[in-house]
């Protein structure tokens, strides 16, 4: 088993955290993982991209040449990274902010993550909506395992944020179950 995921969006859309949660879940399950954030000298509005590899075997190069999955949050990232996907790979898009033109050969799932998060009361959880959708599609980790990681991360002053994150995760999962199953 080896899953290569590229996560991309505006800086501030929470892609870093999304990947970190998956990476920590991987460690908790005793899997191998590499997580490579690459940020440039861009100012606000640029694209932030992260390479995450989860595997049962040793991982050599942490740089993904061809991804199994793309999780994309905004239009510039979609245009920049869509060709990195392997044929018929998983393309998971935040359709609130992406207009799909010239899609690559892919299995496409569209999630209105920004809208869903706003309705829940905090646009910042759009990344966790995407997480829910991803878990519902690929079932790489259980929702409970991810919630455990979130709870650890949100202890102390941020503890109040757990409830809305949990809702966001569930909304993302339900959307996939309702729309695509």
């Amino acid at each position: 088993m080896m899953e290569k995921i590229i996560l991309a969006g505006f800086g501030g859309q929470g892609m870093m955290l999304l990947g970190k949660l998956l990476a920590q879940a991987a460690i908790a399950e005793g899997k191998q993982v590499t997580y490579f954030p690459s940020y440039g000298t861009e100012v606000r509005g640029g694209t932030a991209v992260y390479h995450l590899i989860v595997s049962n075997e040793e991982i050599f190069s942490p740089v993904i040449e061809e991804a199994d999955t793309l999780i994309i949050m905004n239009q510039p990232s979609y245009l920049k990274f869509k060709e990195m996907l392997k044929p018929n790979g998983l393309l998971l898009l935040n359709s609130s902010m992406i207009k799909v033109d010239n899609p690559p050969d892919a299995t496409i799932y569209k999630v209105q993550a920004t809208e869903i998060a706003s309705k829940l009361g905090n646009v910042l959880v759009s990344n966790i909506v995407m997480m829910g959708a991803y878990l519902a599609i690929k079932k790489l980790f259980s929702a409970n395992l991810i919630l455990d990681q979130l709870q650890t991360m949100l202890k102390g002053k941020k503890g109040d944020l757990f409830a809305i994150n949990k809702k966001a995760l569930e909304n993302g999962m339900q959307l996939i179950e309702a729309t695509y199953r």
Partner: protein
């Protein structure tokens, strides 16, 4: 328990575990996670953290702490390491143990903030003035970063010599599971040569200035004997699949991980690809490369530079086999496909080698 940390953070925590209590640095991308981690961690263990006013001030503070017998470290990235070179020469000349981390970025000049291995010459050939060497260790994973930083402090003390960790933006910012399994050092033996106040004992002198004719030559002879001992005892490398190999890749750090991917992809073919990964860049693993050059047709050195370590490979093989080079510069990281294509190019008319080529397409 395994933690998810960047290479930079792992370097900082490993230094703490190794007993480093004096850290001085000046911020620069892509090593900022290191100085950031130190700023919060050092006070927790009762150590000193200073964000210095410049790189030169930081390396000079290291000089002071090292002379007083403490375990001390500084870190920076390429342009900042250039600024520290005067200080490094003085540390080597004063025989002061310390650890310097260079998380290389693209150059020359201000360059960019992407991964690079273009400071190899500066690190292993002596970036400052005078006949000196520093021990240079090149990690290729976050775990190895932690392990080598820990060992670096022991090596520095053992030989009274600066040790450099030569990483790059990728190894510095990459996150991987890491475990700090080595002993947490709290009480280190006092260094008998250090400047701790001479009351009741003969005074100690730390200096790199020998104005009396002949003394400096004598001191240099002493340094050279020390370097020879280090070369004899401290070489480290990893060899993968080298038995009966058709071609041997030589690469370190981030490039080595790409090459390891190539070795893995080719494992089911008749054409055998092996890898020698130097872990100590100085002392350079000459003996294994000399031995392998008697058995193999060609060696391919892969670097994120225009060709620096390849010169040491050529000096070591002395023409016994052909030595080729593939490199990317200015922040480019080689891909496994590029390396495979280069292998096929350097062993022409080899049917088995050509079977590799279709692997270049499998990404």
């Amino acid at each position: 328990m395994k933690q998810l940390l960047t290479g930079n953070e792992a370097a900082a925590e490993a230094a703490i575990v190794a007993g480093c209590r004096y850290y001085y640095g000046y911020p620069i991308t892509p090593q900022n996670e290191l100085i950031n981690y130190m700023s919060s961690r050092m006070p927790q263990v009762g150590g000193a953290f200073i964000q210095a006013e410049s790189e030169i001030a930081a390396i000079s503070m290291v000089h002071g702490s090292a002379a007083a017998g403490g375990r001390t470290m500084t870190s920076s990235s390429s342009p900042g390491i250039s600024l520290k070179q005067e200080g490094i020469s003085y540390l080597a000349g004063s025989e002061l143990p310390c650890v310097i981390v260079n998380i290389q970025r693209g150059g020359p000049g201000l360059g960019d903030i992407s991964a690079s291995q273009a400071d190899y010459f500066q690190a292993v050939k002596g970036g400052g003035h005078g006949d000196y060497h520093i021990i240079v260790l090149a990690p290729s994973s976050v775990q190895e970063m932690a392990d080598l930083v820990y060992d670096a402090f022991d090596l520095a003390d053992k030989y009274r010599n600066p040790v450099m960790i030569l990483g790059d933006a990728q190894i510095g910012q990459l996150m991987e599971p890491v475990e700090f399994h080595k002993k947490f050092k709290k009480h280190l033996p006092q260094k008998t040569w250090s400047l701790t106040g001479a009351e009741g004992r003969k005074r100690n002198i730390i200096k790199s200035f020998y104005p009396v004719k002949g003394q400096l030559e004598e001191f240099n002879a002493h340094l050279q004997r020390k370097y020879k001992t280090i070369e004899e005892h401290e070489v480290r490398y990893e060899a993968v699949n080298i038995h009966k190999a058709d071609v041997i890749l030589v690469a370190y750090g981030t490039s080595a991980r790409v090459c390891r991917e190539v070795v893995k992809k080719s494992r089911r073919l008749e054409f055998r690809v092996g890898l020698i990964r130097p872990i100590t860049l100085w002392p350079f693993p000459k003996e294994i490369i000399r031995k392998i050059s008697e058995k193999v047709q060609c060696i391919l050195t892969v670097e994120m530079s225009a060709g620096q370590m390849v010169e040491d490979v050529r000096l070591t093989t002395e023409g016994r086999c052909s030595v080729h080079f593939y490199g990317r510069t200015g922040g480019g990281v080689p891909t496994s496909s590029e390396v495979i294509k280069k292998i096929v190019e350097i062993v022409p008319n080899n049917r088995a080698a050509n079977t590799l080529l279709h692997l270049a397409e499998v990404r």
